[in-house]
């Protein structure tokens, strides 16, 4: 697709026609794709919010990349691309990676950021080795590679959608049920521990939820960019709300909307994978939140700073006459 084609596609008539096609659910796969995108966006937004607030954002990156070897091993063992074995493989792989990060962080001369970098890249490297072996031995096409790395929600199968739906309901329910202990242990772990909240269990549970979310989202967003859908909605939401229910709701909303709009954009323009499209939509939401959000957004901060500066100058000129 060349630049000229892009400009042509920008013709409004063309866009409207394709959009109508998209939203009228003319094809079943479109309905599936849209549903999947919304679910993925919302799910990652919710789970990711806790990651962002606990400064575990890049664990999401590690989780995404580390699914690759598991997917490959599952494929080799199962001999097919059927949903459940692949997802199981991805899940095991992601969980092993989370454990590995923990072990390395506890080890000699450790740094938690390097631990994530090591696990992320070595797991992914192992995945690439297995993938290259598979490509030689099996008949998977190159397009499959792009889909796995960068997402192709249009290719989501009914089974995958069902699993995604089930996981979303389960994790969504769990989040709502345990909202209080989750929130308290996020904002004040010391206090949480002292009132008997099982902080450790929550931490492990969160990593498990992360792995699950990543595994079901990889088809839509791709391995490389799933971390974005985990981080960006939550990071945006904190500019709007102070307390957890509000932050979560905003994150889910932003995530779901980014998912939907991303899928739509990807449908409109042929060369564009869904992953990057969703990420760019989400980034736009983030930038808007950063600029205009009432809680710490740049616009409000500038306004408040000006008010304070005026007050401070008045203060200083009065006090300069007699301190010592």
């Amino acid at each position: 697709m060349s630049v000229a084609n892009v400009i042509n596609a920008l013709e409004i008539a063309e866009i409207s026609a394709r959009s109508l096609e998209f939203f009228s659910f003319k094809y079943a796969f479109v309905a599936r794709a849209l549903t999947a995108s919304i679910l993925v966006g919302g799910l990652c937004g919710a789970v990711g919010t806790f990651l962002v607030l606990r400064r575990l954002s890049l664990m999401g990156d590690a989780a995404g990349h580390s699914t690759l070897p598991g997917i490959c091993v599952a494929f080799l063992l199962a001999g097919s691309v059927s949903t459940l074995p692949i997802m199981a493989g991805a899940l095991v792989s992601a969980l092993l990676a989370a454990i590995a990060v923990g072990v390395i962080t506890r080890g000699p001369r450790s740094r938690s950021d390097a631990a994530i970098g090591i696990v992320l890249s070595v797991f992914f490297g192992a995945g690439i080795v297995l993938l290259s072996y598979i490509q030689r031995v099996a008949t998977t096409s190159y397009a499959g590679l792009d889909a796995m790395l960068l997402g192709n929600v249009a290719g989501i199968s009914p089974e995958q959608l069902i699993v995604l739906g089930v996981v979303t309901v389960l994790l969504g329910g769990a989040t709502l049920l345990y909202l209080r202990p989750l929130s308290i242990s996020t904002f004040d772990p010391g206090f949480a521990a002292s009132v008997g909240i099982p902080v450790r269990a929550i931490h492990y549970g969160l990593l498990g939820a992360l792995s699950l979310s990543v595994v079901v989202s990889v088809q839509a967003v791709g391995v490389v960019l799933v971390s974005a859908m985990l981080i960006i909605p939550g990071a945006s939401a904190v500019y709007w709300f102070k307390r957890m229910p509000g932050v979560l709701a905003a994150a889910v909303g932003i995530g779901a909307l980014s998912g939907a709009l991303g899928a739509w954009t990807s449908y409109l323009f042929e060369g564009v994978s869904t992953g990057p499209a969703m990420v760019l939509v989400a980034t736009t939401f983030f930038l808007s939140s950063l600029a205009f959000g009432p809680r710490g957004g740049l616009l409000w901060r500038a306004v408040r700073r000006r008010r304070r500066q005026r007050a401070m100058l008045a203060n200083v000129s009065v006090s300069a006459t007699g301190v010592r």
């Binding site: 890049l58 490297g125 492990y204 960006i232 990071a235």
Partner: protein, 315 residues
């Protein structure tokens, strides 16, 4: 048995070229990686290597050429922009630093990928090649790029060693003594971006982070002094590159992936068996002393990872 090691070299020039490219990529990555690792910027390195992609694409779209030096320049500029964006978000925007890294690099990367598939007519830049490299088919252009970048980085690290080590260890003292801290910092970021691009064909974007972080982490376990750490990191990188090439040839798998795996194994070996700090060595020492704390090593290793940093809050 000996033939196994000798044979690949007779298979064709590609083995020599590929190994040369991988080695030339490994050295600057390892050197720069030591300073990034010590400054706790490993994940910014991850961001910069991913961001090299939009850098290349931008350079191509703006200049219309695939001239290697234009690409290097584009990558360096975009890399510095990205690191400024990360810092801007973290310092002035109230975003947590790890989230800032994740947001910036995925956004830039997405723009790069989209620009690539929409704005560029196939051939020259091919997604898979960019992501994983193609060291066995490495082009002359890349070899030249690497041949210039590797010695240049070695020279710069040697020249600016004092500033680099001081800024990495104690920024306050560096500023106090008049070292241009900001210059050193952005110089480092630019160097990482340039090295990523030069290494693209050899190891690709996604695996470059492995060549940067893993050698440094391994060297840190083994060394108590910075000069040695630099040397050991380079040795780790070169060894991973060469042994990785062998595995790629023997097993017919991705060379870049194989190099990263070898690096990971070396790290694991150091983690367990390093003379002073290795986990098994410590454990054995405790047992020799006859204390009951031998078991606590395992317990502490598998205990909760805890948080990335203490005290999260909504800013």
């Amino acid at each position: 048995m000996w033939e196994l090691f000798v044979e690949p070299w007779t298979m064709g020039a590609w083995m020599w070229r590929g190994t040369l490219a991988a080695t030339l990529a490994a050295v600057p990555c390892a050197l720069l990686g030591v300073f990034l690792y010590l400054r706790r910027m490993s994940l910014i390195a991850d961001a910069l290597t991913h961001v090299a992609l939009p850098g290349i694409v931008a350079a191509f779209l703006l200049s219309g050429s695939v001239d290697p030096f234009t690409m290097l320049l584009g990558a360096a500029v975009v890399g510095v922009l990205a690191s400024m964006a990360i810092e801007g978000l973290a310092d002035k925007g109230g975003v947590r630093s790890d989230a800032a890294i994740g947001i910036v690099f995925t956004a830039f990367f997405s723009i790069g990928v989209i620009a690539l598939s929409v704005g560029v007519e196939n051939a020259h830049i091919d997604t898979a090649c960019v992501l994983f490299g193609d060291v066995l088919g490495i082009s002359n252009d890349s070899l030249i790029l690497l041949g210039i970048t590797a010695p240049a980085v070695m020279l710069l690290v040697g020249l600016f060693y004092r500033w680099l080590s001081l800024v990495s260890f104690d920024k306050g003292l560096a500023a106090n003594l008049g070292v241009p801290v900001a210059l050193v910092h952005y110089g480092l970021m630019g160097a990482v971006s340039v090295t990523s691009v030069a290494s693209f064909e050899a190891i690709g974007a996604i695996l470059a982070i492995a060549m940067i972080v893993v050698p440094a982490a391994t060297a840190h376990i083994l060394c108590d002094r910075l000069p040695w750490m630099l040397i050991v990191a380079c040795a780790h990188g070169v060894f991973s590159a060469i042994l990785g090439m062998y595995f790629a040839v023997w097993l017919d798998v991705s060379a870049a992936g194989a190099m990263v795996c070898v690096g990971g194994v070396l790290y694991a070996l150091a983690f367990l068996g390093a003379p002073k700090h290795g986990v098994l060595v410590r454990w054995a020492r405790r047992r020799a002393r006859g204390s009951s704390t031998a078991t606590s090593t395992t317990a502490s290793l598998t205990a909760t990872a805890g948080r990335g940093e203490p005290h999260p809050e909504v800013s």
